[in-house]
Symmetry: C2
Subunit: 341 residues, 2 copies
Amino acid sequence: MIKMLNLITLEHGSGGKKMQSLIHELFLRHFDNEQLNSQEDQARIPFDTLIAQGDRLAFTTDSFVIDPIFFPGGNIGKLAVCGTVNDLAVGGAIPKYLSVGFILEEGLPIQDLEQIVIAMAQTAKEAGVTIVTGDTKVVAKGACDKIFINTSGIGVIPKPLQIGARQIKAGDKIIVNGTLGDHAVAILQARNELALSGSIKSDCAPLNLLTQPLLAQPGVHAMRDATRGGVAAVCNEIADMTKLGMLIKETALPLHPEVTAVSEILGLDPLLMANEGKAVIFVESAEADALLAHLRTLPYSDNAAIIGEVVDSVEGVFIESLYGARKKLLMPTGEQLPRIC
Amino acid sequence: MIKMLNLITLEHGSGGKKMQSLIHELFLRHFDNEQLNSQEDQARIPFDTLIAQGDRLAFTTDSFVIDPIFFPGGNIGKLAVCGTVNDLAVGGAIPKYLSVGFILEEGLPIQDLEQIVIAMAQTAKEAGVTIVTGDTKVVAKGACDKIFINTSGIGVIPKPLQIGARQIKAGDKIIVNGTLGDHAVAILQARNELALSGSIKSDCAPLNLLTQPLLAQPGVHAMRDATRGGVAAVCNEIADMTKLGMLIKETALPLHPEVTAVSEILGLDPLLMANEGKAVIFVESAEADALLAHLRTLPYSDNAAIIGEVVDSVEGVFIESLYGARKKLLMPTGEQLPRIC
């Protein structure tokens, strides 16, 4: 147990003694590593260790403002580690180092912060990344909502790897590693905005555990994680960039029964729902079955499925029903669920 | 002029069409560079270009929650670029790439955001860094205060360079590159919390313009930027890490007359005030005069001065008055000014 006042105060963000005690008793204690412990203004990483794994650096950032901060399947801390790890992973990078920037609201219970920090440390360990540098700001009550977290990440892209939207071509199959919309529905339920109670959990997970072994096989052309805007946003963005079309098979979509039920009741579309542990993987047609079989042996991929294909016969993204009827899946315009991540 | 709704709405953070338009018409337009324009989830940087400049990567992060977001001498955008550039610079790194994470409050005027983005682009250009990856979240009105920005930065540390708190030894001189407390007083005045009106501006500036040329000379042992907690926090942190003492000469402190006046009226201590363009530089005694002379020829350093020295005769940090009286300068405990950066 840490011995501190029970609530975050403005002094915890002051650059003074109280911030030092927060850093030592909470962050350094749980994130414990040489880089962070040195308490320089920056982490210093020899290039040697990075170059051994690849020839390019990957760099990404994400802020997390999810409401509520604790939800079935995770909390904002786990999400903040997974989100940035996943941005690196779907680009083909091996995630290595994370920074973390906390914005805390005065009055946040320190026990809550500790629970979040512990989840970050555990998830970082699972993903094989190290939290090497950080920053903490505290704002007065009412100036933010409990806690916001930014994580930025550095990864290494292995030398032979060339993946990205430009590698996608007509004929490619579209694979997802499991059920869609779980995160969004878990958050909806956690907000108690539904009369429904349910057992569904956020799919929040570090995707590098599956992308790295998958990339050791031939045939992956591009990957994206289907967060805000869901699979619809990913497919439309890529269709727009590549000028290729996509056909998604409605019956092929892996969906948890609760997600189907909630979607029907509320008129939401699981293809537009945010996920936090789902990669959309564009693969060479001839390799698709082998890749899917391999994927199913990997973590967080039990319900992996081929959900559609890339075509040059249409423009845009279409959903095909069991009976062959097509309807266009548009880029989401509005916000189904604010503060979903 | 950009053609968009005048205010930020939740849709601008949705991952959908409106976010795409914000990204294109505002961020890509002003930050314009190949990395960002590729719109992958991550920036990809060949190691070749980095290794040419050094052997270690520097990585740092900072969130900015300053209130007000516009102030004499800058705005939250300029501050967000300087802050992270400076963390890299004082560690001896050549700042190279930045990420930016925006958290926007619903209702923020897009014109304000554009002004902030323009300041970021200009400051990045001045500092020689590229904003290569980003993220935008929008929260409902009341869930944050206008705009928070996180920047994370990557730099390269040149091969022969070994600076850091561990290099500091008794006898080292302590140099600052100019007047102390300008940022804090400018913010106080911008908040209209003082009956005083003044002309002082924040010192917000990219310190690599002086640290890099300075490091080309022999004698620099360590640098820190004196932000939250001011020179007092820097000196106490280092005294604590090195177990050395420090004597600061009160009469040697470069102070703008307005800062002196405000300090006297409000009972604040300029040594505890936040700066956003001030490095505290610990140098070899024999090189101090030459380094000071060189520093004064560099940007943002007209009023550079030797303010004290490192000693092993006392523990902790002491201020010495004109007549030799010493008082202990403690690590700040409280918060002089919340949301100063």
